[in-house]
Structures are given as C-alpha cells and as structure tokens.
Amino acid sequence: MNETPHFPEPAPPVGRRRDIASERPVTPPAVQSEAKGRSGWVKLPSREETVVAIVAVVFLVGFPWCNPGYRFLSLAITTGFTSIALYGLGLQFGQAGIMSVGHAAFLGIGAYTAAIMAGRFGLGFWVALPFSALFSAVIAGLIGLPSLRVGGQHYIIITFCFCALLNIALTNGGSFTGAATGLDVGSIDPIFGINFDQLRNAYYLVVAVLLISLLVTYLITNSSYGRTLRAIRENEALARAVGINTGLHKIGALMVSGAFAGVAGVLQAYYLRHISPALYGPFPSLYLALMVMLGGARLLYGPLAGAIIVSFLPEILKLDPIDSRIAYGVGLLVVILLLPGGVSAGLLDIYRWLLSKRRR
C-alpha cells in the first residue's frame, strides 16, 4: 500500500508554481555521461562550484577578523553547530526525501551522551565526539526502522512523537539526566595547546567541523550513493525494481544524518556548558525543519544559508524574539508558496537567469 513514501510529483500545475524537483543544476550531457561512465567516483566540482567554495571558506574563516564582537561571534558559533545538524537533515530530506520534525532529538542524544560521559565517567570532549556521533547514528537508524513500513506524513509524525517522548524521558530521568534542570558540562580539553575557552578558538573548532560536514555532504551528493538516494526519493518503487536495496539506503541516510546531529549536539553541549531537555524538545525540532526548508535542502549551501538567515536576520533587523519567530513563520510560508527549493535555489535561479541574459 505504501511503497512510495512521498507523493508522485504531479504534472506541472498551472501558474507559477514549480516542483521542488527542479532543484539541481541540470548537468550538461557531457558531464552526465562522464559521471555515468565511472559511477562510484565523485563528480569533480565545476569552476563555479570551486569559486563558491573558496568564497564560503574565506568567509567562514575570515569572519572573526571582521571584528564581530562577542555577541555576533557567539551567534556565529550557534549558527555553526546548528548548520552541522542541518546538513544531516538536508541530506535525509534533500537527497533521500525523508523529512523529520524531530531532529533536535538526535542533537539531544549527542549532547546528553557527551554530558553523561563527562559527568559519570570523566571522559572529555574528544572521546565523547566520536562516541556520541556513533550513538546518535545508531538511535537514528533504530528510529528510522518504521520509515521502511510507513511513509510520508506518517513517518514525520513518528519523528515528532519520538522527539516529544525523548523530552519526557529526559525530564523524568532523575539524576541520571538531571531531570528538568539538565546537566552541566565542563570545558573542552585543550589539544595542541589550543585553549577552546577562548571564543575565537571555539569558533574555529565549529567551523572546522562545519567544513568537514560540508565536504561529506558534497561527497555524498555527488557520488553514486547520492544518486542512489535521489533515485529512492524520486520513485521508491522504481528504485527497488532496478535492484536498489531501498530500505538499507534509507536507514543509511538516516544514520549519517543522526551522526551529524550527534556531533552538533556535543558541540552545543560543550559550548553552552549546560543542557536541559527544553533545548531538544519539539519546538527546537520545528525550527530546525523550518531552517532547512527556508535555506533549501537540496543544494550544498542551502542548510548553511537557512541557519545564517534564521540566526542573524533578527539580530540585524533588531527584532525581538517573538517578532522574529512570526517573521520565520511568514518567511517559511512565502518560501514554500513562491520558492519551493528554498532561498538557495532561488539565488541559483537568479544566477542562471543573469547568465542566460548575458549570453544572449
């Protein structure tokens, strides 16, 4: 009954609405055949992609040199670890087509794993990082099991339930999870003599992890694995018919996504120094979903753009939290109705349009 977890893309509807499917740059035939010829290899970045990548790296690395001040630098750190989690969500939604509105739960699992490891066993940040990533990935895989059976909105609702359930469990966890007040976390152990108590060093740590997750996302999207995931997204029944083990790959994508969220959770725990269940409830999850939709899940810089817009715009426009949340909501509606690929796809469209005008 529910072979396709999402809905057949309908014929282009009347008017200006477009499918989300019109996202990825249509690769020229030459490149396409090249990619087909050596499937399993990663497609090399085009000249434009290289330029954008260099700009992005320079921007991220150079940000502290622009004298942002304490407020903006700490905001940038928050944006950083949020976007790491968003890359996971972007991968599972944008590539494999499995949306989640309970993604903060996996951040929570990462953060609590790190906090409990630090509090109970005295294991610091560097041990907790891989372990939390692994643990979050395993849990994400387990939570993903129902996605094999139920598709579409049913699975989304399951993720939401799981998130709410985890929140209740953390709140009722007694001294093990610190109940509603949460747990305290120490500081990151210095490595190579770098003291991460300094905000700028913490920023570079987050940026380093962010760049790694960008790279991983790029590699996955442009490899044969990414194509497999997109095949599942577009037509799961067909993907299965051509011999793709859809269940395995869906769980795989969810686990990678969970690992990203786990890493983000550890970074968040060690940055905030204190975690509580409220950070990982349904609301933060909804905001994660919102950010990824706003930025666009399918393009490489979409999640980053979403996180930056949501974190920095209210600060720049000097909105108070309530107004800024109303603004997010309105922004989300506008994006879905007018620009279903998110802001990043909109920018790409504008760029292509300018390019085609120049060529003419």
Partner: protein, 289 residues
C-alpha cells in the same frame, strides 16, 4: 470504587475535548488530504478568544459561538490563502502548517501574553449522582461533544453532502465529472474541522487553564486520536479519544502522572508502525497509496 467512577467521569470530559480535536484532524487529514499541524493552535486561538470575550463581560456560551466563528474564518483564510496551493504536494502543505502554527502561537503571545489564562466555571454547579460529584460544566462538555459526534457521523455517512464528499475522496476526477465541486468540499471540510477546533478550545478553557503553548500538546494528542482510529473515520476518532482519555485520566489517578503524555505517544507510534490504517480502518491520508 467510587473514586474509580469519579476518575472515569472526569476522564470522560477530558476525552471529549480530545475527541473534538481528533475529529477535526481526522476529517482534515483523512478527507481533505491536508495535514494541518496548526490545528492545535486553532484550538488554542479558540480558547484565547473565549477567554478574551468572557473577560470582557460576555456570556460564556456567546463567547463559545464567537470563538467558533473566529476560528472558522481563520480556517477559511488558511485554506483559501495557503493550503489550496499545496493540495498537489501534501508534504509542502504539512511544512507550511508548521509555519502557520509558529505564527499563530507568537501572534497570540504578542496580542495577549504568555501567561496562562483561565475563566471562572461558567455554570458553577455540582450535581451529586449516587455519591459521585459531577461538575455540571463537564457534563455539558460531554453532551456537546456527543451532539457534534452524532451530527458529524450522520452528516458524513447519511447526508448527500457526506456522500458527495466521500465520492470525491474515492475518486477525485470522477466526482468532479459528476458535478461535485471537489475543491469547495475540501474548503468546507477544512472550515468545519476548524470550527470544531474553536469549539474544542472554548470547552477546554472552561475546564482547564490554557497557555499559548497548549496547541502543541493538543496537536500530538489529536494526531494520536485520529491515527489510532483511522484517518477520516469519525467513529475511530471517538474510540481513539476514549482510549486516550481513559488511559490519561486513569494514569493520572493511579499510575505515574509524570509519564501521562508518554503513554499516548507510545500508543500512537506502535499503532502507526503496526497498523498504519488505524484500528478501525480509514484512508491512508492524502495520496499515500
């Protein structure tokens, strides 16, 4: 035993509100094909409007009608202005409804504030039946819910409008060819569900305090009810609401109350995995074939 019956009676009124929201969701999700995550916020807005009207000196029952109309109009605007454009892509509609819920919640905080609101018991009478205290307002809540359930059930299964509605769910194109205005029915179902949310909100604030964040708690229960019973199945929503309401009420009285919310979540997850079509069977939601 008397305490048990007391608990049972109390749970019944809690279940009633849950049933109202569950029917709204089951109709909108199962029949109109829209996953409205903002439905809980619609209920919360209904409660807030009731609170506002009652504190400005209006009679509760007039305020209740006011809340129903207000939320109905809200639903009409949401359907015509937003969800109409995503009928072909329900996933986008779902995500949009998350945006709507965020907006409504914070607009309510902006207009009023985030402090919890209560109104005095509109009737303020307690009937004693066989040693059991029955708060009159709770009885009225149960009664109103029963009326709504009966109307909805017979409306869908017996009236020509209900038949036309079910026809347009079964086969949209054929129904349209037979002269059924399918889109108008979708709007109608959405507005009807919203009106029920308004009613639910008004009844809820008569029983419990409401905060702007109530909606997000209610929505989980609403989805639980509609999914347990089977989407689009009014009887299923009633059964689901009763099960959840009783589990909640009894666990509050006997089990460990801090896990109350967890039970409904667990029940829902299990049902979704084991029987995605719900206990009593229903549609699988929009185009999930």
């Amino acid at each position: 035993m008397e305490i048990f019956i007391q608990q049972l009676v109390n749970s019944l009124s809690v279940a009633s509100v849950t049933i109202l929201i569950g029917i709204g969701i089951t109709l909108i999700f199962g029949l109109a094909g829209i996953v409205n995550f903002a439905h809980g916020e619609f209920l919360m807005v209904g409660g807030m409007i009731t609170w506002f009207l009652v504190t400005s000196g209006l009679n509760f029952f007039l305020a209740l009608v006011g809340a129903m109309i207000f939320v109905g109009v809200l639903g009409f605007i949401a359907e015509r202005g937003l969800f109409r454009f995503t009928l072909e892509q329900p996933m986008n509609g779902f995500i949009m409804s998350i945006g709507v819920s965020v907006i409504l919640q914070h607009v309510v905080i902006r207009v009023f504030n985030e402090v919890q609101k209560t109104i005095p018991d509109p009737i303020g009478k307690v009937w004693v039946v066989g040693g059991i205290d029955i708060i009159a307002m709770r009885a009225i809540v149960v009664l109103l819910t029963a009326v709504v359930v009966a109307t909805t059930y017979f409306g869908i299964s017996r009236s020509r409008y209900g038949i036309a509605l079910r026809a347009s769910i079964a086969d949209q194109d054929t129904a349209a060819l037979m002269g059924i205005p399918v889109r108008r029915y979708v709007t109608g179902v959405f507005v009807y569900g919203s009106v029920l949310a308004g009613l639910g909100g008004a009844l809820m604030i008569a029983l419990f305090p409401i905060t702007p964040f109530t909606g997000s708690v209610v929505i989980i229960r609403g989805f639980a009810v509609s999914l347990i019973g089977g989407l689009g199945n009014v009887g299923g929503a009633v059964a689901g609401g009763l099960i959840l309401g009783l589990v909640d009420g009894l666990s509050a009285g006997y089990g460990s109350p801090e896990w109350t919310d967890a039970y409904s979540l667990v029940v829902m997850i299990v049902i979704l995995i084991v029987r995605p079509q719900g206990l009593l069977g229903g549609t699988l939601g929009p185009r999930a074939t």
